[in-house]
Each structure stands twice: as C-alpha cells, then as structure tokens.
C-alpha cells in the first residue's frame, strides 16, 4: 500500500520546482553573469570551487560597494554542465532563454570548444542577441589559434605558453638528462606531449625523451604499472597534464615507488590534492601557473585571500584569474556604460589592466589571449603563508617569467562581426 506515497513524492518535487521559479527574479535588475561548469557529478569539486570564488569576487569588489553601472548588482547564475559537451548545449539554451549574455566557463577544453562553436553559431544566427564566452581555464591553444573567435576571451595562459616557460625552466636544470611524458589520452594530454617534445628538442636537444605514454582518461585504477615503466626508463623528471583523480593517483604511485624525481604538472594542487599528497609531494610536485600563491606580492591581494578564507574556511583561492576576468569585464562595462557583449568585447580587446598583485596584464586583441607573468612553484611547507586545503603545505614560487616574455605568436585570423 505504500505505493501511493510515491506519486505524491513526485508531485511534491514538481511543486518545489514551480515554487522555486519565483526565487530568481529580483527587482533591482542586476547584471547577470552565467557561470557554467560542473557543479554535480565526478568533477563537481573544481566547478563548485570556481563558482564560490566568482561569487565572492563579485560580492567583495562590487556588490558590497554599491554595485556597478550606477548601482546595479552583479548576480552570478550557476549553470551545471556536468562537464559534458551535450549538457553544455542544453545549459547554453537555458542561458539564452534567461538572457544571460556573458558565460564564464573553464573546465575541459572539449567543453570550451563545443561552447565556442555553439556561441559562434548562435551569434551568427541571432544578431543582436550575442553571447560572450569568458574562458578562465581551458588551455587548448586551438581556442586562440585556428578556432579563435571574436566572442571568446581567454584569461589563462594556454598550454603552449605554459610549456614554453616550463621547458625554459627545465632547460636550466642541468641535472635533467631524460624526460618521461605521461598524460590522459585526449586532446590536452596529447597537446602537452607534442609541444613538450618539440620545445625540448629545440632548447635541450641532449634531453632524451624516454617515455611518451597515454592512458585512458579516468579509467586507470592503479598507476603502478605505468610508474614501473617510468622507473625502469631511468627518467630524471616527469611531465604530465593530468588533472583530478588521475593526477593524484599518478603522483601517489610515483612517490610510493620511491622515485625521487620532480613531477612537472598543470593541475596538481588544491581541491584535496595538496592535502592528499602532503609531505610525500614536498619538493617533487611542480606546478606551472599564473599568479603566485606564495609569496604574495601585495597587501591588497593578501587581504582578499584572507577575506575569502574567512568566508569559506574550507576553501582556497585557487583561480585568481577569475578575479582578473571579472574585474576586466566590469572595467569594460564601466568604460562603455553597456552590458552588451559586443561593446564589452571591443573594450576588452587590447585592454591593459593592473591586477591585485600590481601587475599589468594585457588582453591581446588579435586572438583574445591574456598575457601575464607565469610562475613555476613547488609544493612545500617552507615559507608558506597561504597553504592549500588547510594542510600546512602550499605552493612556493621558484621561477618567474614576466608577461612580456610569455608572448608567443598567434596564427589567429579573426573574423570580426560588424555592427
């Protein structure tokens, strides 16, 4: 007889849904910005973290100070794409339907590419209702090269730029004579491998590539067999573009095997990774990234991080580029007194902006790629003012490359829409 409970349960859900429709409307007409990243499912940790940071930035810099454009608040609207290209399509339609014209998106280059194509198609078919893609983290070079678009802006250094700096650094490490490259079997993993090999061949022809391995993404339960190969190859260092659990498992296996070599990574920090690797990863895990975590150059930025930690004790500021992106967009809005994506895009082109770290960063107009200093940091517990995952360990920057030296050529031939 309990059968009868269920339909009521379903009804209840529907009523909840209908009821909650009412919540999102607000009278002051805020500037609404979409944040589209995985907020549920296997990749939720990183997406949720980004959402919190963006929301906090909006509140900290603007909403608590009377808003932007003469008193309008910024509202960040989360859209959960589950890191799936298909779901991204669905959420994009939702964004258009709710007239969200600026979409922040960062996780997975596959998703970024899909979104890019979708937005281009949409903008072409619906003049006057264009949508702007703010890419804060997807680093596939193609997005500002072949597939560059007027409606896409990238606020992170792309893989080739990062690898350029990374290989410069490796080139200086005399002790490294052989290199093992391992990555997830998909476009970014392959890009890391291809670019590293060609750059190392130029900068340090004597470094032997003793391994170039791909493994299926998210399918490997135990990395030890791979590590066995790394050990027996006699590599002096490892480069990997792995992220998430694949990163942690790989690093753990390398450390467990007793191998004491540096691991050069893109995503091996925060969101539980630093805590999990802890002391074992000390001085082994290297990260290439923009914006240092330690030492922090300005009080302004320290205050910001402290404020964030105070509001979110269990979280970290992992993506300062979200702050830069938001601030630059607001600056563009204020300059043009408009929230129209076309106006914002024009204002963002070649914008120079001074960040919380007192660094001037530049959005190149040719391909919509940001340029700022890049840093190579190492996981350690020495000299750490701001740790990660409350673990006592954090990233300490060892090597800096100023913005102007990170600039590389682009093959982008941008088609600019005319109004």
């Amino acid at each position: 007889m309990k059968k009868t409970k269920i339909p009521i349960f379903i009804n209840g859900l529907l009523i909840t849904l209908i009821a909650s429709f009412g919540i999102n409307t607000s009278a002051q007409e805020p500037v609404r910005i979409a944040f589209m990243d995985p907020l549920s499912g296997a990749f939720a940790a990183i997406g949720t973290s980004g959402l919190k940071q963006l929301q906090f930035a909006a509140d900290y810099f603007y909403n608590s100070k009377g808003g932007i454009l003469d008193g309008r608040m910024i509202e960040i609207v989360p859209l959960d794409n589950k890191q799936s290209p298909t779901e991204t399509q669905i959420q994009f339609r939702r964004a258009v339907s709710e007239e969200l014209r600026i979409i922040f998106q960062g996780n997975s280059s596959a998703v970024a590419n899909t979104l890019n194509q979708t937005i281009n198609r949409h903008n072409r078919r619906n003049p006057g209702q264009e949508v702007l893609q703010i890419n804060y983290s997807a680093v596939d070079p193609i997005l500002t090269e072949e597939n560059c678009s007027f409606w896409h802006f990238r606020f992170d250094a792309h893989a080739a730029m990062k690898l350029n700096v990374l290989t410069d650094y490796i080139a200086m490490e005399e002790s490294i004579k052989s290199m093992y490259i391992i990555g997830q079997d998909y476009s970014f993993g392959q890009a890391v491998s291809d670019i590293s090999i060609s750059l190392l061949a130029k900068k340090r022809p004597d470094i032997e590539i003793v391994g170039n391995e791909f493994h299926p993404i998210g399918q490997v339960k135990d990395f030890t067999p791979y590590v066995t190969k790394i050990v027996s190859s006699g590599a002096d260092a490892v480069i990997t573009g792995n992220f998430g659990a694949d990163m942690v498992s790989l690093a753990k296996s390398i450390i467990d095997s007793g191998l004491d070599i540096p691991i050069y990574t893109f995503y091996a920090a925060y969101d539980g990774i630093t805590a999990t690797l802890g002391a074992d990863g000390k001085n082994k895990i290297h990260l290439i990234h923009n914006e240092t975590s330690n030492p922090i150059p300005t009080e302004r930025r320290k205050d910001y991080i402290r404020a964030y930690k105070a509001a979110n004790p269990n979280r970290d500021v992992t993506q300062p580029r979200l702050v830069n992106a938001l601030q630059m967009i607001v600056q563009a809005m204020e300059q043009t007194q408009s929230t129209d994506p076309y106006d914002i895009a024009l204002a963002l082109e070649d914008m120079r902006f001074t960040t919380l770290s007192d660094e001037e960063i530049w959005m190149r107009g040719d391909d919509h790629q940001i340029f700022q200093s890049l840093h190579i940091s190492v996981q350690t517990d020495e000299g750490i003012e701001f740790d990660a995952d409350n673990s006592g360990f954090g990233l300490f920057s060892k090597f800096h490359v100023p913005a102007e030296e990170t600039i590389i050529e682009t093959s982008c031939q941008m088609r600019r829409p005319r109004r």
Binding site: A42, A44, A45, T48, D185, E213, F214, H215, P216, G218, Q219, V220, K221, D222, T224, P225, Y226, T228, K229, V231, S232, G244, A245, V248, S249, K252, S253, D256, S257, G258, D271, G272, I273, A275, T276, G278, S391
Partner: protein, 316 residues
C-alpha cells in the same frame, strides 16, 4: 626487460587479487541470487570512505576492522529491506535497483564526504620498501595487500569446502532451487551472503583506498570490470573468479608494460602509412593505450565462444 616483467607481474598480482576480493563476493551473490549487483563496487568505495573516517580518530587498523563490518551490515540491510522486496518483480527490477543504488551511494558519498579527494594514508608502520629490485622499490603496503587478499582467498576456500554452511552455500550456487527444498532458511542465507559479499568488497576498499586514491569516482571504472570477471570466470565458480581476476590483473599490467602496438606490427609486416592515412588512428595504436579495455574484449570473445565462462558449470 626482466625488471619490467617482474614488476609487471607483481603489479598484476596486486590488482588481480584486489579484483578477486570484489569478485568473490559478487560471484557468491550473482550465482546464488541471480542478482547482477551493480552496486558492488560502490560498497568497495564505502569501505574506503568509512575506513578513512575511522582512521582519522582511531587509526588505520581500527578502520581495517570496523569499516568492512559497517559495510557488511549496510549490505545486509540493503538486501533485507531493498532487494528482497524488489526480488518479486524479477531480475530486471533487481538490476535497476542496484543500478540506482550505485548512483545513490556515489551521490551520498559526495554529500557526506564532499567531492574532493581524501587524504587516506597507509599506516606508518607499513611505510617502508619491502624490497628493492633493480633500483625499484616494492612497498611493504603492497605486500600487505597481497597478504590480506591471499589470506581472504584461503579462508574463503576453507569455509566453503570444509564447513557446513560452506557446503550449503556451494550447493546453493550450483543448484539454487534444491537448497530451499531441503528446508534451509534461504532468505537468511541470502542476507548473510550479501552481507559477507559486501563486507569483502568493503575490505577491498579499505586496503585499496590508500594506494588507489579515495575519491567519489573510485568505483565507476571498477563496477563493470568486476562483472566481467565473474562472467569470464563462469557463474557459480569461485575458482573461475580467482583465475579470471588474476588473468585480468596480469593482462592489463602486461599490456601497460609492453611497448608494442600497431607500428611494431606494421614494421614486422613491412608496411608503412602516411600520417594522413584515414586509418592513422589505427596504425598508431599501441597496447598500453588500450589496456583498460582489454577485459571487455576478452568478455565478448569468451561469451561468443564459451558462454558458460572459463570454469562455469551452468548457463544462466
């Protein structure tokens, strides 16, 4: 070469034995109850998480003891109040139930423990290299994993062949209908077997968690692999499950260790293709890249040519 071979074998053993701990419980459940328990690997994940939580307060060893117990009790409860009820609606219903359960457990884990990786560490006592061979360390913890798995196998084997309950269970595996006619309390046996099976999965999670990383996705890839093992090994055969587990563990490990693939094969045949060839993806394929899908290839081949599995005695 030799060192790679030796370590590949050791790695294959660790994986294989770990898989067996999952597969042994699943074989019992699958064979006796006919339930395709999709949530089996989720209990493995629960094992790791419970052990992590226990270890925060009482240390690793307490986790090793209590986490499997908690998981086993949970499993028994699921059988008693979930599966038994669904059983009346047939096997598909049971399957969808376990499907949903797997989904729910993953979400629940994220709800209670959060979506990020957990810092679940092996005990310090086992944090030393067991031996070093050709400059490569084999950690004591991995030796411990092999030890635990082997002792589970031996204990299980003894219980099943020597004790009364074991004989009833064996009979129930091969002739599920007869046992009920002999007057045994089949629902109780089912609950017990489900509880023990999930506890074994939990134990596997406890010992795997520290090395294979404790995170909400840890069960995803494993769930279907364990099925593959049970089916390849043959329904109703614990020995088959054991062989299939080792087979798959070693197969994957060797595949990763090997460096051969299509390029080598083509070389051997004296063929060469341009990078622009439409099948370039195929010509550049190598074994390590396809290692994780080899079990599925094996599954399809076994089922086509020997539907009862390697050591299976009965169909369906």
């Amino acid at each position: 070469m030799l060192e790679i071979f030796i370590f590949a074998t050791l790695n294959g053993l660790v994986t294989g034995l770990l898989l067996f701990m999952l597969a042994s419980g699943l074989t019992l459940i699958f064979s006796m109850m006919g339930v395709l328990n999709f949530a089996h690997a989720s209990f493995y994940m629960l094992g790791a998480y419970f052990a992590y939580s226990v270890s925060l307060y009482f240390g690793f060893w307490m986790g090793l003891i209590f986490a499997p117990l908690i998981v086993g009790v949970l499993g028994a409860v699921v059988e008693r109040y979930g599966l038994r009820r669904v059983h009346q609606s047939g096997h598909v219903a049971e399957l969808v139930f376990t499907f949903g359960l797997a989904f729910l457990i993953e979400e629940a884990v994220q709800f209670f423990w959060g979506p990020d990786t957990k810092n679940y560490q092996a005990p310090d006592i086992l944090d030393f290299p067991l031996f070093t061979l050709f400059g490569q360390e084999f950690s004591a913890y991995r030796g411990f994993m092999i030890g635990i798995s082997l002792s589970i196998f031996i204990t299980l084997y003894h219980i099943l062949t020597r004790s009364r309950i074991g004989i009833i269970i064996q009979a129930a595996i091969t002739h599920p209908n007869t046992v009920a006619n002999l007057g045994h309390n089949v629902p109780l046996i089912f609950m017990g077997v489900f509880g023990v099976g999930t506890a074994l999965a939990g134990l596997a999670g406890v010992i795997a968690g520290p090395v294979l990383t404790t995170f909400p996705g840890m069960s995803i890839a494993l769930g279907s692999i364990v099925f593959v093992i049970v089916v390849i090994g043959g329904l109703g055969s614990l020995a088959g499950a054991f062989i299939a587990s080792l087979l798959i563990g070693l197969l994957q490990s060797y595949a990763i260790a090997s460096d051969v693939g299509m390029p080598e094969l083509l070389n051997l045949l004296g063929l060469e293709f341009e990078r622009s060839h439409p099948l370039n993806d195929l010509w550049t394929l190598n074994l390590p890249r396809i290692a994780p899908i080899l079990p599925f290839l094996l599954l399809v081949l076994v089922l086509i040519f020997r539907p009862t599995g390697l050591l299976g005695k009965r169909e369906e």
